[in-house]
Symmetry: C2
Subunit: 243 residues, 2 copies
Amino acid sequence: MQPAATPKLTPKAVQTRQRILDAALDLFAAHGYEETTMRDIAAAAGCSLGLTYRYFASKEDLVLELYRWLIDQLEEQTRLLPAGPIADRFQQLMRGLFAAMVPHRLTLGALFGAALNPRSRAGLFGAEGAEVRRRAQAAYITVVAQATDAPRRLQQVDDLATLLYGVQLALVLFWLQDLRTGSRRTEQLLQLVHDLLRRIRTFLRLPLVAQTLAQLVAIVGPLLGQDDARQDDARQDEATPAE
Amino acid sequence: MQPAATPKLTPKAVQTRQRILDAALDLFAAHGYEETTMRDIAAAAGCSLGLTYRYFASKEDLVLELYRWLIDQLEEQTRLLPAGPIADRFQQLMRGLFAAMVPHRLTLGALFGAALNPRSRAGLFGAEGAEVRRRAQAAYITVVAQATDAPRRLQQVDDLATLLYGVQLALVLFWLQDLRTGSRRTEQLLQLVHDLLRRIRTFLRLPLVAQTLAQLVAIVGPLLGQDDARQDDARQDEATPAE
């Protein structure tokens, strides 16, 4: 995994930071996330504990760095997508993402507990994951809006982007379970999604489909980083003392 | 949480076993699953470590006990469902399940990492979870088959059962994230599912819908415990040395 841009560091510091990150991801994969301590990470990276903390204030920051790297991949691959229908663009993007994730498969599997724990700082759906979700949402808007079969209504572009982001998360979840078949089932599922997306414009002309998509996105969207400006509802939620 | 039937234990032993289980679930909720040791559990239950191991050979067995209890709930509530359409039966079942899970919400959140880790013995989709998946699949076949709008084709009954089981897992996953709105979004999502299921018979008359359901279940079903007898394909997977 290559580091994200870290402008103020010397080349040696960049190297050290990278060594700590690599050691952490290896340890998460080998022993699990919760069981790995910062002390273990420092030892494996051959650094003092103090130095390790200077680069990463906590284990959660190491996880957030992995999320950010994945989003870097998503954005870069989105930029490289050729013109074409939504179905083809999404399929190509997923294949690229899976290829990037293969070396981190065990780490990602080990992180699922933290990623799905809304009380963890490393939670994908918690406060710290907000920027990651916003960037992913923006990338999927590009996937849809620049497709040859993009819907004309902007709201539908946004809704489809949210749908694709949700489908991506579901596919990754499925892929992490799909160890036995060498990812063959994941490829079949991706193909099924492709076949359905090829007809998405036709489907969206059916009032029931258009309406169901809008309802689904209104419910699930806020969790997936859909533009908060449109979610009066979501702001109301913030005020609810439910935690 | 009441214990599953444990015929050979004395009343005192049943009590001790229950105390260990309760202590474990509390500790998982408070400190996370990976971070809790059998030693912690023994201490919290006021037992020796040796005695604790006599009741539960490992931490994973404690998790499997929780899964089994949830499946007991699923089976019991399925038996109590009144006659009616699939949509109503599924909605009532989900409400009952969520009510049963509320006291264990934090524990279930803490267990998601292990539940979704295919390499953990506590993995829902691993070998040890097979009985749980089989029983859940059987319960959902009852939900569909005894509904007033059950499809006539048995294969479609099975496929719908698998679909409902998948939707249940997705709803639980969503509910565990839905802390901010006091589960209001989960209720909205359940209502949307209900509205779609009300039309399921109509939808299944459309060849594209029937075909997509069959394809989806063929891909995802094996993971959800669909009858192995019908999955030649799945047995072929077993032979693949992919792990």
